[in-house]
């Protein structure tokens, strides 16, 4: 006496169950969507944070105008009690804070002094200054004591020597740059 279910009835049963199944799937899917949305948001905020931190780490090459503006605002040169290495170090740190890739340049040179016909033996000297590569690839020297820029692509070494000669000694007879080290 078992009841024979007609195919139409069976089909109707499926139609009745299907919405329930679909509602369950859809609600689960919505929950998963919310979870995924939260993950995306977490990644987004984390990436933004790292990107910001990276922007601080990447140091750029300034244009000549930007460099002049930075040096005009820069006040570490006003402290006359600092040694040349301290001034150079301070200027480099401030440039890094401003996002510019400035380096410290050690310039080794040899001088011969002469006084009343007597000539000194060649004496080694080291000058500590700053340097930076500009946007256009030109390297310029910066004297941290006065915050001024020396050199362009045509006359770097000549200008540098002239400046050093003016600053070193009255009895300078000969000067020659022997080495240059750039410390980034």
């Amino acid at each position: 006496m078992s009841e024979i279910i007609s195919p139409k009835k069976q089909f109707n049963k499926i139609w009745r169950i299907l919405p329930i199944i679909l509602i369950i799937i859809l609600s689960m899917s919505t929950i998963y969507n919310i979870y995924q949305y939260k993950i995306i948001n977490t990644f987004k905020s984390e990436n933004q944070l790292i990107e910001k931190e990276l922007q601080h780490k990447y140091l750029k090459r300034p244009s000549m105008i930007e460099l002049e503006e930075f040096l005009a605002k820069e006040q570490s040169s006003e402290n006359k009690n600092l040694s040349e290495s301290e001034s150079a170090s301070n200027l480099r740190l401030n440039a890094h804070s401003a996002g510019y890739n400035m380096c410290i340049v050690f310039i080794d040179f040899e001088i011969i002094l002469s006084y009343r016909g007597l000539r000194s033996p060649p004496m080694p000297f080291t000058y500590v200054i700053n340097g930076i590569t500009l946007e256009n690839g030109t390297f310029v020297y910066i004297f941290p004591e006065g915050n001024f820029i020396i050199g362009n692509e045509h006359s770097q070494i000549k200008d540098l020597l002239e400046y050093i000669m003016r600053n070193i000694a009255l009895y300078l007879n000969y000067i020659r740059i022997t080495k240059e080290i750039r410390l980034y």
Binding site: P19, L26, E51, L183
Partner: protein, 187 residues
């Protein structure tokens, strides 16, 4: 008639159920498509995050332990470099760069030193004051202790002015006195 009414009611509810099912199917499919989209977004963000982290790691330098520092210095060959134009500034610069490559935070220490050195003029020896710039390295260890490192002989010197001045005297045979007047750390 009752039978027909019941059948009609059943039929209209079935129609509703069918329509509902279709709507739900469409919603489920669109939800699945949205899942795929979100999944690819998550993957892209993961990759971006990984890239940023590796980039950031390049800038993150750690303070070495004393054992790590000894190990690094014994493997490093900067102290063996020598030449007519090679001096303490080159050694300190190169050692700092090599330490950075190994992930250690090392600085260059600039020392302005006043010396009293033996000089000779017209066959007479005398002691004369002199100044000099000495460049060495320095590092903060993992226990927050600062140490100096002589890049030319890989010696680790404790953070003490007298130990450092003694070292400077050792390095300069002609000097009788070495006094540090200024010290700058370049990280």
């Amino acid at each position: 008639m009752n039978g027909i009414k019941f059948y009609n009611a059943n039929s209209s509810s079935m129609k509703l159920l069918r329509n509902l099912s279709f709507i739900l199917i469409i919603l489920t499919i669109s939800s699945l498509i949205f899942h795929i989209h979100q999944y690819s977004t998550i993957n892209a963000m993961k990759e971006r995050n990984q890239f940023f982290k590796t980039e950031l790691n390049k800038f993150t330098l750690e303070n070495p332990s004393i054992e790590d520092l000894h190990k690094f210095l014994s493997n490093d060959i900067t102290n063996q470099k020598d030449g007519a134009n090679w001096d303490c500034k080159d050694s300190a610069n190169v050692l700092r760069l090599n330490a950075r490559k190994s992930g250690f935070n090392m600085c260059v220490v600039l020392l302005d030193v006043n010396y009293v050195i033996k000089s000779a003029s017209r066959d007479k020896e005398y002691w004369a004051p002199s100044t000099g710039l000495v460049t060495i390295n320095g590092a903060i260890l993992d226990n927050e202790t600062f140490v100096y490192i002589d890049p030319q002989d890989d010696q680790i010197i404790r953070f003490d002015r007298y130990s450092l001045e003694w070292k400077l005297l050792e390095k300069n045979n002609d000097a009788l006195v070495a006094a540090i007047i200024n010290e700058v750390h370049i990280w």
